[in-house]
């Protein structure tokens, strides 16, 4: 394919290149997931489709067109932009800045030591504290992040999808309780998905079974005490980012969600008591029409799974509720301002796909941490789409399109096939243990790279229309102040010296006893208690790990002081 896409060549030999460009046509006539595309789609492509049964109005089973009858006419999607970096006070300031710019929900990111459940003063944390998120070693940090934010009046997504989710979630609840707020009034989402973390964060700190047990603790706790809280945000997004295709994104995400549901039912919960609080985090990539079809297909398939496989009776349990994070992997460092256009297209995918909550990437993400300015543009992208384009004025405006409906069917069929394959292996946790998922991901990544290298997949600025290498990032590079880590380590050390040690020891002992009582014992209340005594994430995770016969420290460097 072509020299025709080489702009630099075109500039050298203007006249030849121009005629070549004049006659150029699309080379790849399949979707990015490989579905062939015809010249045109007609009513014949919808033959045999029963509108009421298969598509239905928005708000009606199987919800192909949306989960609410009037969609955004009732309420816009939640406009979130994530924040979490440097010190708690810096994150707090960025959250308030975003609020002043019009976000309608917060997202809080944590750094990698927190994801791993190690304290800021752990040797492996060096160089990473406060870097790719805020460090949340103790309750002090969460208090700082949430300072001055009325927790009963906001919706907060806590993005810590690792085995540490129960501790981060409990930190949030401990802050609320210390302020005298009724936790039943809290609204938000915990990215409670340790299974997916294996593919996002690599080697997880805890083994699969313990991770799932703790995930179910959150579901059980919320089902009993927190009716407005989303107990899981099953993260198909991160899996998709590895390079897998659209039907795999649906199938892997659903495969993971079904594990949590099965385990929660085994714990004794009634599926209709918790299913309506399970939500998803999906990607929106650059294949505009296929990605919209993907979201519609996912909605229909989830409704069927919940009704038919799990026997859920309440319509709320059938609804596929999801947030979208625009595809970070579609962004490139070359000519980075072009990323704003990519993000806009992906945000439009999410809206036309019926999203409930949207996070737009910032254009500088392939280069550095998002700056205040780039985050503002990400938010403005959502606002321009919401307020200027009119796309939110009717439910599922693309529904009924011959092509979209046809593609929706194909995506659903393909996802069903993959789910069957996962079922035959004994479910997603088993498929993971067999490393089947790893193989799929490795294959996909290699395939994707080959397509880029041989230009079957054109990425403007990377393998086509390139310009001379730039030596500066437009808008500059945001950097975490170097003193952040030193300060945080000092804070953590000082906290460990000054807190009431007897109280810490006592709460850790109670947590250990609870953890030793086996899988059925919910650990959230004891985690909250330990956090209130300022036990750290490392101490809490270590105590639980030790009770389950694992090393106290996932890196086996630190020894238990208890």
């Amino acid at each position: 394919m072509a020299d025709s896409v080489k702009a630099e060549k075109r500039e050298d030999t203007k006249i030849d290149g121009l005629m070549e460009a004049y006659f150029e046509k699309p080379k790849r006539l399949t979707t990015w997931s490989g579905f062939p595309i015809k010249d045109i789609y007609t009513p014949a492509d919808l033959e045999g489709i029963d509108y009421e049964g298969n598509i239905a109005n928005a708000g009606d089973y199987p919800f192909t067109r949306g989960i609410h009858s009037n969609m955004y006419r009732g309420r816009y999607w939640t406009m979130r932009e994530g924040s979490g970096y440097a010190r708690a006070a810096d994150t707090n300031k960025r959250l308030k800045f975003l609020a002043s710019q019009g976000v309608s929900g917060f997202s809080i990111f944590r750094d990698l030591p927190t994801v791993w459940g190690i304290d800021a003063d752990h040797p492996m944390a060096e160089g990473e504290v406060g870097l790719s998120g805020v460090n949340l070693t103790s309750l002090k940090d969460m208090e700082g992040v949430l300072d001055g934010i009325a927790l009963d009046k906001v919706s907060v997504a806590l993005l810590c999808a690792s085995s540490l989710a129960p501790v981060i979630f409990s930190q949030y609840l401990a802050v609320a309780e210390n302020r005298g707020i009724d936790i039943a009034k809290l609204r938000g989402t915990i990215a409670n998905d340790p299974l997916h973390s294996r593919y996002c964060y690599g080697k997880p700190s805890n083994p699969i079974d313990l991770s799932v047990k703790l995930a179910v603790d959150i579901i059980e706790f919320c089902t009993k005490h927190m009716p407005l809280w989303n107990t899981n945000s099953v993260n198909a997004y991160d899996m998709r980012e590895t390079g897998i295709n659209a039907p795999e994104e649906i199938a892997f995400g659903f495969g993971i969600a079904m594990e949590y549901i099965r385990k929660a039912v085994e714990r004794g919960l009634n599926v209709d008591d918790f299913a309506s609080r399970i939500s998803f985090y999906f990607s929106a990539g650059m294949d505009f029409l296929e990605e919209i079809a993907k979201l519609r297909a996912a909605r229909r398939l989830w409704a069927k799974i919940m009704k038919e496989r799990f026997g859920a009776k309440k319509p709320g349990s059938w609804k596929f509720r999801f947030g979208v994070h625009t595809a970070g992997s579609s962004l490139v460092p070359q000519q980075p301002l072009n990323n704003i256009i990519r993000i806009t297209i992906e945000a439009l995918v999410a809206i036309l796909g019926g999203v409930q909550s949207l996070h737009c990437c910032s254009y500088d993400e392939p280069i550095a941490l998002p700056s205040e300015e780039s985050q503002r543009i990400a938010l403005r992208t959502q606002q321009i789409l919401a307020y200027e384009t009119g796309v939110a004025n009717t439910a599922d405006p693309l529904g009924g399109s011959y092509f979209i409906e046809n593609l929706t069917n194909k995506l659903e069929e393909e996802a069903v096939k993959i789910i069957k394959e996962i079922d035959e292996m004994g479910g997603m946790a088993e498929a993971m243990k067999k490393e089947w998922v790893d193989q799929k991901i490795d294959q996909a990544a290699l395939q994707l790279q080959k397509e880029i290298e041989n230009k079957e997949r054109v990425i403007v600025g990377v393998n086509a229309f390139t310009t001379a290498p730039e030596d500066k990032t437009p808008g500059g590079v945001y950097r975490i102040p170097p003193e952040t880590e030193r300060e945080q380590i000092a804070n953590v050390k000082s906290l460990k010296e000054t807190r009431d040690r007897k109280k810490v020891k006592e709460t850790i002992r109670r947590l250990r006893e609870k953890a030793q009582m086996g899988e059925g014992e919910n650990l959230i209340p004891s985690i909250i208690e330990a956090l209130k005594a300022y036990a750290t994430v490392g101490e809490i995770q270590g105590t639980i790990r030790a009770a389950y016969g694992l090393t106290y420290d996932p890196f086996d460097i630190m020894k238990s002081p208890y």
Partner: protein, 127 residues
């Protein structure tokens, strides 16, 4: 016959974005290099030790969480202490353009940021 290049690829720190480094490992093997895969979550000390023990010609480091300046400084220092600052060190990943000259100043031979072509990386490493 020319000796096959021995290359150690590793990813220091807690970040797990290993897709790039795995792809490069495969491409280098396909191109005839001997690849020692040091893996992820490794410390500068472990990386330096492996590089010396395995007697590699090139050390390739991947970064995606903005720790490149801190970690590369440590590794270059450790190599100097062992009198092995002649080792060719190549850095790749999510690297701001502004940092390329800093990395080169500390002795990193070449930097391949995200979006680099596999062919370019392989050509550079096995040339």
């Amino acid at each position: 016959m020319e000796k096959r290049k021995r290359i150690l690829l590793a990813k220091p720190g807690l970040d797990a974005h290993d897709m790039g480094i795995k792809l490069i490992a495969r491409a280098l093997k396909d191109a005839g290099a001997e690849v020692v895969y040091g893996g992820i979550y490794v410390t500068p000390e472990e990386i330096t030790k492996t590089a010396l023990e395995e007697d590699v010609d090139i050390l390739g480091l991947s970064f995606h969480s903005s720790t490149h300046l801190v970690e590369a400084t440590k590794i270059m220092k450790l190599l100097r202490e062992k009198d092995r600052d002649d080792l060719t060190v190549v850095v790749g990943g999510c690297i701001p353009l502004e940092d390329v000259s800093d990395l080169k100043k500390m002795g990193v031979r070449e930097v391949f940021g995200s979006g680099s072509s596999l062919d370019d990386i392989v050509d550079f490493m096995i040339q």
